[in-house]
């Protein structure tokens, strides 16, 4: 039984609990106020943008029509989705594989490799962008999906997360599979992976979010508009002279809606996934 169930068992609803509940709800509403403003602005005309009333005087979907009507936007939307999904799949695959290997195999150098991978968390991305760009240009990756995706194909965070989870998978399951005649790869794929599904969904969501909103690197590495990601595309609405805030907000709103939906559908898994990881520092 978890502590919350324990709390629930107490039938007497004390006034303190109601106050806490109310405060939490108010806090939560404050948390989403900026989001509400984002949606509200996306429903305003250019002239009303500076009028900060939450409910637009005359809401209009014109911005949405304009943004979505532009074929490029749909292209950017597709690019972002494609890139985020691909990078997520890659992370799920490689981070799990590495995490599993580090958790379940004993070999010399294991700890060193773990530390080395973990230490990349401390390397600021800013430090790497120029070398990445040079590398991409030498290998002809500029202005390609692969060019956008390659730096994020594996992450130390994911590896760390997955390692924690795999350490919780009892060895017996793996050994039973070994006795049943599976090779090491199949053991990982068929036995270990299904046992950490909550972790995978947590990892997938964090990776997806991180890449869906990626801005800086895609900006540097793409040249043609057809390859822009959504955030890059949205920011191209801002030009030298006048920033079209209502369109930026509309783009941002459209960009947020999918992640919002995905999150609302999967939030249970995130919580459970993170919970089972038992993050041991």
């Amino acid at each position: 039984m978890t502590s919350s169930e324990l709390a629930a068992n107490r039938r007497d609803i004390r006034p303190g609990r109601i106050i806490i509940w109310t405060l939490l709800v108010i806090g939560g509403l404050i948390m989403i106020t900026p989001l509400l403003f984002m949606f509200s602005t996306s429903l305003k005309t250019a002239g009303q943008v500076y009028d900060l009333r939450l409910i637009p005087a005359s809401p209009t979907f014109a911005n949405y029509v304009k943004v979505l009507g532009d074929g490029r936007f749909m292209q950017w939307f597709f690019n972002s989705t494609f890139i985020a999904v691909t990078v997520t799949l890659s992370n799920v695959f490689f981070d799990s594989l590495v995490g599993y290997t580090l958790a379940k195999f004993e070999f010399r150098g294991r700890y060193f490799i773990f530390l080395a991978i973990l230490s990349t968390l401390m390397i600021p991305t800013e430090m790497l962008v120029i070398p990445w760009y040079l590398m991409s240009s030498q290998l002809g990756w500029i202005d390609s999906y692969w060019g956008i995706m390659f730096p994020g194909m594996m992450t130390a965070f994911g590896t760390f997360l997955m390692k924690q989870f795999f350490e919780g998978v009892p060895n017996d399951f793996l050994e039973a599979a070994r006795v049943d005649g599976l090779n090491e790869f199949t053991i990982w794929w068929k036995i270990a992976m299904p046992m950490v599904v909550p972790a995978i969904s947590a990892l997938a969501i964090f990776t997806f979010l991180g890449n869906w909103t990626a801005f800086f690197w895609p900006l540097i590495v793409t040249t043609s508009k057809e390859l822009y990601t959504l955030p890059v595309g949205i920011s191209s609405f801002s030009a030298e002279s006048s920033i079209q805030w209502e369109l930026i907000m509309t783009g941002a709103a459209i960009g947020t809606i999918p992640t919002l939906v995905v999150f609302l559908l999967l939030q249970r898994y995130i919580v459970r996934g993170v919970m089972l990881a038992g993050l041991k520092g």
């Binding site: 002239g47 760009y133 040079l134 240009s137 508009k225 801002s238 030009a239 030298e240 002279s241 006048s242």
Partner: protein, 389 residues
């Protein structure tokens, strides 16, 4: 052959250029032009990054202030005087085109140029009972005082004039206010020369708008143009390129020349984006690039540009027509061109930052005008020194 043309994203510019490319390709069926655009904020980065990767454009648009960087970085090549005779350039274009000259060579040619003017909100003027827009600084102050609105606590709720150093105000200060106070911003060698009484007076005039007259507030509505667009500022100083954005303003507005000083002296600041030929264009591509450049700086192209973008033609005879001069909107800008100066920037962003910081020190930290000016002069000189060493 296919050549590549780069510019930054701005709807009407892109539209105009597409039009020009279409015309050009119709006339030169053997040449195709690939039109690539980037967000303004990252435009330079992209050009530089492309050069590192050895994939530069054949014809590239650049702000005149970036020229030194582009030349020293070998991003662009000098124009062949055989194709673009120097004498012709100097006679046909406005003199500010000389900012594209290094040594004996021109490195690029503009299609259009821009200058500053004073925008005013007719509705607010009417409300304040002012009949004519200000023509000199004194009237400017009076008009600002008349149109500014404050609440009970003395907080400005509608500005008399916008204050936005990060926008165009630093040009106004540098090229207009200093000169109107009898100084010059830079000496003949290009070194800072405004650290004197004239500079101080100019700076004082500017900061007094907020501290003494209280007709403007830096950061009001975030940006000056935003305040003006929202109808919460009676006046703003801005450039030609703002015309498009202001078109949709839900109120009537007008444009006049930048105010003269008490002696009637006027000054203005003019700038432009030029087109240059990329360093990597050679042989056939170079010939095609030259043809294309010639076309987009031709009178015909300037007409198209004026039509679609609203920017002023860079050739005198195309610009200074009777109709244009009498146009209530274009007129003031065109007149400004006659007495405009063009600052020679080494690092435009950094130099603007020194001006922003200078004003902030006075407004936020209460530093004296003289000290702040001296500090800014030193900082800007350091930038110039670093660039020219």
């Amino acid at each position: 052959v296919e050549i590549e043309y780069w510019q930054y994203v701005f709807d009407s510019r892109v539209q105009a250029m597409d039009q020009l490319i279409k015309n050009f390709e119709a006339a030169n069926p053997d040449i195709t032009v690939k039109h690539t655009t980037f967000p303004y904020a990252d435009y330079q980065t992209r050009v530089v990054a492309a050069k590192v990767a050895g994939q530069g454009p054949d014809v590239v648009q650049l702000f005149y202030g970036w020229l030194d960087n582009f030349v020293s970085g070998e991003l662009i090549q000098p124009l062949d005087p055989a194709v673009f005779p120097t004498a012709e350039i100097e006679s046909d274009f406005f003199p500010i085109v000389s900012a594209m000259k290094r040594g004996d060579s021109y490195y690029g040619l503009p299609t259009a140029v821009r200058s500053l003017a004073l925008f005013y909100n007719k509705a607010l003027f009417e409300e304040a009972g002012i009949a004519n827009p200000p023509s000199n600084l004194e009237e400017l102050l009076a008009a600002a005082e008349a149109t500014v609105k404050r609440d009970g606590g003395g907080n400005i709720i509608s500005e008399g004039i916008t204050m936005d150093m990060a926008g165009q105000d630093h040009h106004w200060w540098r090229e207009a206010l200093i000169r109107q106070n009898g100084g010059v911003p830079y000496d003949a060698e290009g070194n800072v020369a405004y650290n004197d009484a004239a500079g101080a007076a100019a700076l004082k005039f500017y900061t007094d708008l907020q501290t003494e007259q209280k007709v403007g507030l830096v950061g009001f509505m975030d940006e000056g143009q935003a305040a003006f667009r929202a109808g919460l500022a009676a006046m703003t100083i801005d450039g030609t390129f703002r015309l498009g954005a202001f078109e949709s303003n839900p109120f009537e507005w007008g444009v006049v020349e930048l105010p003269a000083d008490a002696n009637g002296v006027r000054s203005n600041y003019s700038s432009y984006f030029a087109n240059a030929i990329g360093a990597s264009a050679q042989g056939e591509e170079k010939i095609a690039a030259e043809k294309f450049l010639a076309y987009i700086s031709s009178p015909e192209a300037m007409e198209v540009w004026l039509d679609i973008v609203g920017e002023l033609p860079a050739r005198r005879d195309v610009a200074l027509t009777e109709t244009n001069l009498n146009d209530p909107i274009k007129g003031p800008f065109l007149k400004g061109l006659e007495y405009a100066h063009t600052t020679k920037f080494y690092d435009e962003a950094a130099q603007r930052q020194t001006a922003i910081d200078m004003v902030n020190r006075v407004l936020l930290e209460g530093q004296s005008v003289e000290d702040s000016l001296a500090q800014a002069a030193a900082a800007e000189q350091a930038i110039i020194d670093a660039a020219t060493k």
